[in-house]
Amino acid sequence: MRLNSAILGYGAYVPKYRISTEEIARIWFGEGSGPNRMKAVASYDEDALTMAYEAASIALKMAKYPEIEAILVGSESKPYAVKPMGSILSDIFGFNKILGVDLEFACKGGTEAVQMISGMITSGVIKHGLAIGSDTAQGRPADDLEYTAASGAGAVVLGQPNGNEIAKITHSVTFVTDTPDFWRRPKEHYPTHLGRFTGEPAYFTHIMSSVKLLFEETGYKPSDFNYAIFHQPNPKFPVEVGKRLGFTDEQLKPGLLNDELGNSYSANTLVALNAVLDVSKPGDKILLSSFGSGAGSDTFVIEVVSKPDDDDYIPLREKLKKYVEIDYATYSKWRNKIIR
């Protein structure tokens, strides 16, 4: 579908704490490590709502606080099963004439928010909206997912293009099927997954299908893009899917964060987009493709227009240099893994 929306502000939040996958392996296997070096862990007093607030605050400041008419939050770890984060954030930011609601599609809730708000802006229903992806992802102790299931949030303030925006979103395609690669039933604390099934029929099939559909609709090819962002469940998959689609390592590298941060689910590709927007130049084109288990993929064409106008803004990779490593005991206490 053709879209005509603009990114007026962007922000990402990664909690201060990390656990190494060596530390996780030490507890469960005695030795070894996961596919990534570390993952970001939210502190005891953080959840998807507080992280969404942090990321959105950066994006709203960069956008100079326009009157927001929709807040959509993608998440699979909402603090309340019933009671949207969109409503809590509307009050916190002081926008009460608003559509405030949450979306869930495993790791692609955040890009759905971008797509829906872009649609409302393109059609003229609203002027400004806030799209957020935020998760404190949980992996069952000793499960493969525990190495990567991480915390983080990404946000974009969207509005109508006027020539001064940071970037334009011009096109998006979604490809969805019923694929049982990963799910969580009500009241279950941890998700269930079908292991190797998450690769070929799920991740690769859906991302490749949505990217190819976008290429068919727009006529674009990989060499038309300066950067490509693919969902990062581990360090390997985004590189592999990029290669299969014909992208180079140079196009992928600026957005690759899984090795040091893990997979922040709904925030994953929005945090990567923040890292890429930090280094991109006016005129650059970015291809972004998310993946949500269950399964589906949203692909976007993003054209960079101008650099952000915010003197206080600190680039994401600069902020990531400062972190504190915690051990498995602290992680267990903070992330509710201890039975009392």
Binding site: S43, D45, E46, T50, E54, S57, D91, I92
Partner: protein, 129 residues
């Protein structure tokens, strides 16, 4: 905490909404109904500045029951950049970086929650910047 009392005060807790005297310009947090400086009752809502400096702090190893699981917690008096003195918890604070004079910024964190089925109380805490 009591959900209804929290709901009434949610703007104070999440946005640091205090008050400002329309007559003499004095600012207050928490909000007041009558200006303590000039006695005026012409008071408007005013959002406090979110940055400030640590004036004093203490470490609680046995905090009140609602915060028991989070021990130790650090409580600090913060002089906001608009001059107002506010009491708050420090978030993500490592003991070696907590110092009088350290610069802080308000953020929102979970204060506490009413068990597994109750309300989650969100409010401001200060991060060292």
């Amino acid at each position: 905490m009591i959900p209804i009392a929290y709901w009434r005060n949610r703007k104070l807790y999440t946005r640091l909404i205090g008050s400002r005297c329309k007559k003499c310009g004095a600012e207050y947090y928490p909000p007041v109904k009558v200006c303590k400086k000039c006695g005026s009752t012409e008071i408007e809502e005013k959002e406090m500045l979110k940055t400030g400096t640590i004036v004093s702090f203490t470490k609680l190893t046995e905090p009140p029951v609602d915060f028991k699981d989070y021990a130790p917690i650090y409580l600090a008096m913060i002089r906001l950049d608009n001059g107002i003195l506010v009491l708050g918890q420090l978030a993500d604070a490592e003991s070696e970086e907590i110092k009088i004079g350290a610069r802080v910024m308000a953020t929102i964190r979970k204060w506490t929650e009413d068990g597994q089925s109750g309300i989650i109380y969100y409010g401001y805490k200060f991060k060292i910047i």
